[in-house]
Amino acid sequence: MVLKDFLVEGRVAIVTGGGRGLGHAIALCLAEAGADVAVAARTREQIEDTAAEVRKLGRRALAVPTDVTQADDVDGLVQRTLDEFGHVDILVNNAGIAPVRPLVPMLGSQPKPAAGAWDFSRPTSEEEFDLVMDTNVRSVFLACRAVGPHMMGRSKGKVINVASMGGLRGWDYHTLYTASKAAVINFSRSLAREWARYDINVNVIAPGRFPTEATKGQMADEHIRRDLLRRIPLKRFGEPREVGLLAVYLASPASDYVTGQTFGLDGGAMVLP
């Protein structure tokens, strides 16, 4: 039965940024496909909610409040998961932030800040740089470092890093974000090679435009919305569940020969110039 190849029954998954948006959808899809899930994020209520939904699907769940930029927190997340479930098969590094801002104030007309955007009237600060790199890159490094010895010991594992289409091309007013996602993509390529001998697959999901909390500000602007849609051949934004289903594929035995790859999930946008 081919469809069995797409199931992850009896597997244990860790999903960071699992309280909302894409991480929430990934956690639920993995649970639907049979996995027990440890949900991590900073906000306890949100991950408790996701965990409750996982349990409703008949799977075990664990909500672990975690700051993914802190080594102690991330090590603790993996240890808690091991204590509770005994093993970890799937790691989904999804936590991230996507700030929109020009590197320095533009000469002439300024871009209009989207709701919640950082202050455009001053140059990007080093603290902002660190925040983006810590949340989007250091977090991936910390979590992979934390599960590596365990996955190696069992000679199996699936690591799925959520980057972005922006990691493969330039986006206006996204210098830090796209740089951080490009870092995740190449980190994953190298780690895929390093861990291939242990049958640990490392792949990347590169979503295009998805309406989530993180992108709500931008999407609220009708002009930006229309402009974005014009650049997507399928003429619609993605649904978070579509990311979840790709994660299921990459977590399942169906993708055992696929490693070091970046999966564009963008309604065809990458094909356009």
Binding site: M1, V2, L3, K4, D5, F6, L7, C29, E32, A33, G34, S188, R189, S190, A192, R193, A196, R197, D199, G208, P233, L234, K235, G238, E239, E242, L245, L246, V248, Y249, P253, A254, S255, D256, Y257, V258, T259, G260, Q261, F263, G264, L265, D266, G267, G268, M270, V271, L272
Partner: protein, 260 residues
């Protein structure tokens, strides 16, 4: 959950469907719930695979087809719609490679045969299938390319050129047919355990050279390509179009083998 990956109620056409990767894809799609039409030149091979597909409980139609003949491609689509009333999935998989060696040593007829089979047939059959997919509100086209479509493979220059062209055909069709909700993606395997590639994996020097650039240290089994195709054919990949899924054991994530 499995339902998102299910192909129930769908009809798939697989060229080169009697052997190797095509056979594995046809079987995988049947096991995922699709009725399958397989096309290839040799009726005996087709009948044998058709029996295996029917044993999964799905229907299978075998259509002897030479993909280098326009009329045969039109006939393939006509027979599919005649029997099943619809066409949802097309897998362009039939390929050939009559030349091994530096490209300057290839005859002109070899160039033509490679391009006509590996590229022109994809183009023609996609066009014909697209018209049927429009009638059912969408579809999924899967073009078998190769990791050779991205990088040099010793002795396979013309083949690599044709596979690179398949990748661009995939992207062009993805954009132009997105408006019909037809998704077009490609699969780019490295060496797969098939008769077609036997000369590669059965020759220790070539095999070892390939493995030196393959982190997973094994070639792919045809069944693994079947799973990739089911994913791309199913609703689970509904936002993925214009992409090339590289199934190469990690090779492309790094440098080619040192001996290249």
């Amino acid at each position: 959950m499995a339902s998102a990956f299910s192909l129930e109620g769908k009809v798939a056409v697989v060229t080169g469907g009697s052997r190797g990767i095509g056979r594995a894809i046809a079987l995988a799609m049947a096991k995922a719930g699709a009725d399958v039409v397989i096309a290839a030149r040799k009726p005996e091979d087709l009948e044998a695979t058709a029996k295996d597909i029917q044993a999964t409980g799905r229907q299978c139609l075998a259509v002897p087809t030479n993909v280098r003949e326009r009329a045969a491609l039109d006939n393939l689509v006509a027979q599919t719609v005649g029997k099943f009333g619809r066409l949802d999935i097309l897998v362009n998989n039939a390929v050939t490679n009559p030349h091994f060696g530096p490209v300057d040593t290839a005859e002109e007829w070899q160039f033509d045969v490679i391009m006509n089979t590996n590229l022109k047939a994809y183009f023609l059959l996609s066009n014909a299938a697209m018209k049927e997919m429009q009638k059912v509100g969408g579809g999924s086209i899967i073009n078998l390319s190769s990791s050779g479509g991205f990088r040099y493979m010793t002795g396979l220059g013309l083949y690599c050129i044709s596979k690179a062209a398949d990748i661009m055909l995939t992207k062009v069709n993805a954009v132009e047919w997105a408006r019909y909700n037809i998704r077009v993606n490609a699969i780019a395997p490295s060496i797969v355990r098939t008769d077609f590639a036997k000369a590669l994996w059965d020759t220790p020097a070539i095999y070892n050279q390939a493995m030196s650039g393959t982190p997973l240290k094994r070639i792919a089994e045809p069944e693994e390509l079947g799973d990739v195709a089911v994913f791309l054919a199913s609703n689970a990949s509904s936002y993925i179009t214009g992409q090339v899924i590289v199934a190469d054991g990690g090779g492309q994530a790094g440098p080619p083998p040192a001996t290249w």
